[in-house]
Amino acid sequence: MAGNDRRDFLIKLGTGCGVCALGAQGVASLRSLVPNVSYDAPTTVKLGAPAEFPDGLKFLADERLFIFRDGNTFHAVSAVCTHLGCTVRAEALSKPETATVGGAPLRLTHQFSCPCHGSHYTGDGTNVSGPAPKPLSWYRLSVAADDGQLVVDLADEVERDFRLTV
């Protein structure tokens, strides 16, 4: 009996070690597929001197961002549809209207539509129809300390009362 106990124990030990070794190798192989480094573009981007922006709207394809200018105030609205991430398109309104956005008046010159599933947004990014579950994001704009360019922080979403006055 004693001999059998030892044999059983060694069989279990051997099997257990084998399973653990295979498991560890499996985990190591799978872990290698989870990226440690992301080569995504930086979230803080210099966009150019404020004077270069036209009155109204400018679309920045690389950042998928709309920059609005009204005199010397600026704000930035994301062009990424909140439904499934397609890039929305801007259409100019036939005549601009003024609405109160985030407690402050805002001149609305455009509206947005998504080509993938037909979501529609008003000029301040509010979702009005289609499957989009929430409004387009607004991002923080600032002025670079060194050369005075406009800077957007794509990691910093702001409330819709945000305006940058230069």
Partner: protein
């Protein structure tokens, strides 16, 4: 020294023929031929009927074979890198001799396989072939589950292949598809990041989809296919064979002059008549070689011929190179996912301030529910075993109608997505022309 004597009739003879002159020859063809070793010795005529199974499983397998064959040359020609993928597909299309045809065969066979897999599933459903009939140790319900997994693998194979040309069509279909994954609560964004290897569709995504497409998914389908066929054999062939066995009772049959009957069989009737169940009767079953082999060859070669010829005339699309900055308008998913795209468009729910993204309901909950129901159906189906292997039996009328209704709904949504959705996913009747959309500002 003499060779040890072999037991007569045990060891197959080394030669075999596809035109056997005796039952013995027919059996040898199966036991000594690698390609035919998975065939039964005898097969009932009813289960070989063209109009019972429409041979959809065989056609699907033939398409899979054709996909592997046409994929092999493409492996040498395609470069899975974001800088060169598009150009290499363009070369396959316009520069390489026969490249256009090989790519067309691969693409047409892939679309065809999606169709035949679904038709095969529908056939098995309508005939209740996932039900166990009379055989011992049948586990047909598990073979159905394997089939559902292979359907999902087929769709994923098709979807991963869709990205590889790295054109606009590919890029945005995959953008939308992978964003659906991120609509899963809590783990969604992580699932998407693992799937595409980062936060944006980039080189990491391309190589992941490529490796899945050329190795892991086909290997998975291959292994499951082998198991699927093995289970068919273990379960006693097609469900139709069970049906024969259930429906038929013993009846007198003509004596086969060359066959030795047991004493019991002879003693039962007045010699020389015997009674037999249908499967044992010589007039209802045939040798697998040549009859089954011949039909399998017809189905396989016919499929290959049809696809190869059709591919001469069907051009494969290649749009502009992928551009993350411009979303085409309208941007559509692959056709077999358009019903889902249509649903994710229509299912965003607003309850006061509370909003559920349509991507979650239409992209996760609903397909999950459908696949779950499909998988569990053999255990939910309470119809009697007597209707196993019968087309549209009365006892299964309700479930067949529901199944048809769901299929028609999916087809309808697919049609709407394919034909009736224009710029900004607006609805247009076929006779309406799409408005010209202003370009990007």
């Amino acid at each position: 020294m003499s060779l040890p004597e072999q037991a007569p009739g045990v060891r197959p003879r080394p030669f075999w023929s596809l035109r056997p002159r005796s039952d013995r020859d027919a059996g040898d063809a199966i036991t000594s031929n690698f390609l035919l070793h998975w065939f039964p010795a005898k097969v009932s005529k009813a289960s070989m009927s063209w109009t019972y199974s429409f041979w959809l499983g065989t056609i699907t397998a033939a398409l899979f074979l054709l996909l592997i064959l046409s994929g092999l040359p493409l492996l040498f020609l395609y470069v899975p890198s974001v800088e060169r993928a598009y150009q290499s597909v363009k070369d396959i299309e316009y520069v390489i001799t026969f490249g256009r045809w090989i790519r067309a065969v691969h693409r047409v066979a892939a679309h065809g396989m999606v169709i035949t897999v679904v038709l095969h599933l529908a056939r098995v459903y309508f005939t209740g072939a996932y039900k166990n009939g009379i055989g011992r140790n049948q586990k047909r319900e598990w073979n159905w589950v394997i089939g559902v997994v292979m359907l999902l693998l087929t769709l994923f194979l098709s979807f991963t292949g869709y990205l590889l040309p790295w054109d606009q069509l590919a890029f945005w279909a995959v953008t939308v598809g992978t964003n659906i994954a991120s609509a899963i609560p809590w783990i969604g964004p992580d699932v998407r990041e693992l799937l595409i290897g980062g936060r944006a569709i980039e080189q990491a995504t391309l190589i992941r989809f490529y490796v899945l497409h050329i190795f892991f998914l086909p290997a998975g389908v291959g292994v499951l296919f082998a198991y699927h066929m093995w289970r068919v054999r273990k379960d006693g062939g097609l469900a139709r064979a069970d049906r024969e066995e259930i429906a038929e009772t013993s009846r007198p049959v003509a004596v086969v002059p060359t066959k030795t009957y047991t004493l019991l069989g002879v003693a039962k009737g007045t010699a020389p008549t015997v009674t037999a169940r249908s499967l044992e009767a010589a007039n209802t079953s045939v040798n697998a070689v040549p009859d089954l082999a011949r039909r399998a060859m017809i189905a396989t070669l016919g499929t290959i011929a049809v696809i190869s010829i059709a591919s001469v005339f069907i051009a494969s699309p290649l749009e502009e190179p992928a551009n993350a900055l411009i979303t085409p308008n309208p941007a559509k998913a692959p056709w077999y996912f358009l019903w889902l795209q249509e649903i994710v468009t229509d299912t965003t729910i607003h309850l006061g301030n509370f909003t559920i993204n349509g991507a979650f309901i239409g992209g996760v909950v609903l397909p999950g529910l459908l696949v779950g129901l499909l998988t569990a159906w053999p255990w939910l189906d309470r119809s009697p075993r007597e209707v196993t292997g019968e087309w549209f039996p009365r006892a299964r009328r309700t479930q067949n109608i529901v199944f048809i209704a769901i299929m028609v709904g999916i087809l309808l949504l697919t049609y709407i997505g394919m034909e009736l959705r224009g710029p900004y996913w607006e609805f247009f009747w076929p006779w309406e022309t799409w408005p010209s959309v202003p370009g990007r500002i």
